[in-house]
Structure formats: C-alpha cells, structure tokens
C-alpha cells in the first residue's frame, strides 16, 4: 500500500476530489498547510515594512491506496491540479506497511 501525499493549490481541492471520485477513490484526508517553494518573491507590506511572504496557503491531500492503482491516482491528481503556473505543488508517494479500519478492525488493503 502507498500513501500518496499531494500538496496542491487550495482552490483546486474540489476538482481533485471530483477527479478522484471518478476513478473510484472513496477516501482521503485533507490538511491546511503553508507551502514554501519556488513560487515566492511576492512581497507584502505591513505598516510600511516590506516582507516576503514565502509561505503560501496550500492544501495537503493524503490518500492511502493499494500499490497497483497508486500510479493512476498520481496521474489523476496531476491532471486535476495542474494550472501550469508555478506553485502547482508536489506529490510524494510513501510506503504504508499496514492499514486498519478502526470501525471494523479490518486490516490491509481491505481497510482503505
């Protein structure tokens, strides 16, 4: 099993969710995060002092999936989240050793 962790632009969340639903993904967990990356240099001014806002609002979407469909999920996210502009975000794929559904004690791929 894999944990697919995608950092995307917040307003793309809805589209990503819908695209994933279409390929049958039924679960995910979303976190509000701030991202620091190449997309920066946008300078803000607060009461006269300039400062660079390096940290931009992003959303992290985490999806646990069976190994075989991981690639498809990644592609789906890429397609849905892409604007082509800098700051579109990243996807990281991590290995999961075990998964449990709390409600039923199910284990493994059946749990996700």
């Amino acid at each position: 099993m894999k944990l697919i962790s995608a950092i995307i632009k917040p307003f793309k969340l809805e589209e990503v969710k819908e695209a994933l639903a279409e390929i049958g993904i039924e679960g995910m967990t979303v976190t509000e995060v701030k991202g620091f990356g190449r997309q920066k240099g946008h300078t803000e001014i607060y009461r006269g002092s300039e400062y660079t806002v390096d940290f931009l609002p992003k959303v992290k979407v985490e999806i646990a999936v069976g190994g075989e469909i991981a690639e498809k999920v990644v592609e789906t996210i890429v397609n849905a989240a892409k604007t082509g502009k800098i700051g579109d975000g990243k996807i990281f794929v991590l290995p999961i050793e075990e998964a449990v559904r709390i409600r039923t004690d199910e284990r493994g791929e059946g749990a996700i």
Partner: protein, 466 residues
Amino acid sequence: MKSKKSLLFTALVLLGVFGSAIHGFAQEEAVAAAVEAAAPDEDYLALKTQYGETFDFFTTSVLWTLIAAGLVFIMHLGFATLETGLTRSKNSVNILFKNVFIICMGLLTYAVWGFNAMYPGWEGSGFFAMGSPLTMEAYGNTDFSYGGTALAMTGWADFIFQAMFAATAATIVSGAVAERIKLGSFMVIGTLLVMFLYPMSGSWKWGAGWLDGMGFYDFAGSTLVHAFGGFAALAAVIVLGPRKGKYLEGGRIRPILGHSMPLATIGVFLLFLGWFGFNGGSVLSANPEGISFVFVTTALAAAAGGFSSIFFSWILLKKPDLSMALNGILAGLVGITAGADSVTLWSSVVIGLIAGVLVVISILFFDKIKIDDPVGAISVHGVCGIWGTLAVGLPFFNGGNEDLSFFTQLIGTLSVAIFAFVGTFILCIIVKALMGIRVSAEEEDEGLDIGEHGQEAYPDFAPASR
C-alpha cells in the same frame, strides 16, 4: 502597475477636495465668528430669549438628530461585518477596506457636493438639482430657523444625519459585488454613485422634486436609499458576472459559504440598532409621538421579518437557517422604512412578515437565474425596498389614508429603481471599458486580500506573526 489607474483617479479626487476646501475658506469667515459667539460656556439663556419658547424642543430635536446620525453611522460597521462574515476569509481585508473607504469618501463628497445637490438648491428642471456645491451658507449656517420650525434643527445637524445616509447606497452595492470586483473600479463606481446618482434621484422626492409633487411617499427611504442601492447592485452584478465556481454546468449551484457566522450576526444586530436612528431620525425632530411610534413599527417589522423568514425557510429548506433569519430581519427593516410613521401598528407586523417570506423567495430566485449576490443585498434592499414602498399605498396597511395612492407609489419606486439600475449599468460599462472591472481569474482564486492588498485578514499562521 495595476494600481496606476486608481492612483490617477486618486489624484483627481484629492485635487477636487482640496479645491473645494480652498473655495470654502473664502466664504466662511463670517461663519467662524458666529460659531465662536455660541461657544458652550456662553449663557444659553441669551439664546433662549432670542429663539423664544421653541428653544427647548429645538434643542432636544437637534440632540436626537445627532444621536440618530451616530446610529446610522454604526450601520456602516454593521454592513462591514455582515459582508465580511458572509464571504470567504481570503477576501476579508478587501471588504473591510471598501467599507472604510466608503464612509470616508461618502462624508467628504456629501459635504462638497451631495448635500446641496439633494436638498436646498432644488430649482430648475425638477430632474436634477444643482445647489451651490461648495458654499457654507447653504447648509452650515448657525441660524436656528434653518428649515423652519417643522425641521427643528440646525443645518449642521441636518447635514451630518443625511451624510451618514448617503454612503449607504454604495455600501449596499459593496456586498453584492464582493469577492471579484477590482478595488480601484469599485472606488470609482462607489464615489460617482454617492456623489451624483444618489442625490439626483433622492432629490426627486426629498429635494421637493417631481415625485414629491406627485404625492409619492417614502418616509425614510425604502425606495430612495434601499431600492436605489439594491438595483444599483443588480446592475453591477450583471456587468460583473457571478463568482468563479458558483454556477456549475447542469444548473447545479455550488454554494460559497461565508467564513464567520458570528461576524455576520454582529452585523445584523448593529444594523437593527442603527435602524432606530435611520427611521427614528427621519422624523426630523424629537416629536415624542412620532419617534416613539416609529421605534415600535421599526422593531415589530424587524422581529416579524426575522420570525417569518425563520419559519418559512425552515419549511422550505428543511433546516433552520441562520443566514436566512438574519436576512429576514433586514428584510423587515427595509420593508417598514417607507411607512414607519404612517402605516398602522399591526400593519408593521404584517409588512415585516411578508418581507421575511419575500426575501427568502427572492434569494432563491436570483440564485436560480444566476445573479450571484453573496450577501443577498439585491433581495433585501431591492426587492423588499419596493415591497415596503408599495405597501404604504395599500389601504389595508395605511389605515385608509387617502393621500397615499398605490399607483403613485408604484411609479415612484419603479422610476427610482430603474434610474439606479440604468445609471449604474452605464457607469459600470464605462468603468469596465476604461479600467476593467473584474480581477483576474487567478486573483479571484487566490483571494483579493493578497491580490489587491498584499495583506491577509487572519495572518496568524504567517511565519512573520509567530
């Protein structure tokens, strides 16, 4: 770069205000002397002797008018928090900024132009007043007999009360166009609206113009303020288009939730409070019978509006919806504004009940036809403004007062609504052509706070504020 045009505009307006001020200086020496003569430690007995037995009533009336001006002022905070609460946090700085700008600009432009245009200088065609825009004599004099005994107040009290009203027209628009209008464009549109369009149609009635001549009745502005604002908002929204992502294919509507219901609720309570000044102050004296009657009709209509919208939306939508309850209170208040002094007491309840139902239907309707109004301004102010004005013309509500005619009311409210709509529409089209009216799709996605102001409303998680 993007703010170049706004800055150009700035320069012009600043110039205008300074110019006016200089013009003003020339003419007010006499006034300054007079003010001094009435310094507070002067013996007021002298004044009393001078103005005879009307003095005490006059004093109380001025006091009430000023307090009412303060109450109307606080409505601007009400609008600011209501609009902020009902929109997304990524646009909050922008909305707050617009509201701060409007009250500043509104007071200044009304001083240099609007007040004289709307009231005393009514002469000529009957369609547009051209008072002496910058002289003090026209409204700032110290003569207690300003306006005659019927208008028991100084010109200054009258000015400040009316000035607080004036900015409301732009404030109503500001909520409807939220989350997508360019800041500079809104500032230009709002300024021209408050400076020219509002006093123009206002003078038709309150400046003794052609509507007044016809017998049109609008006590505190269901039509002249609220329907005006609501239909100006409708025009602006049509030119602007809906927010990105609001209307999906297949007629599906994706609601865009406001980010803070406590802020929105604070807004409505403050508006309710301020309305006592809006309607009560429109008695234009402290006539005890008049103001106490108006307080009662205002409160009952607001309560009835909230009450009926709570239950009507509950039945219709299956859930007790707080945002509908809030809009219902405002609907009741807008509805009673035209007739707060002249409908019967129980009519105020019925007017409010109907307004509360109407506003719910209207909000759903405008959403159906893809008019995207984030705060419901068009329904609350536009639709209920018309409703309240018409109600005054119905014998059922006005207790059979023969001076009031449904037909005249209809003509009055439609002509103002159409004027506001057409005028604002043209204005928006011109602004759109000259400087653009809508932020880029990217900026809309990112939020106007960062796009236009480079400032977040709640930046606590910004590393700079750790």
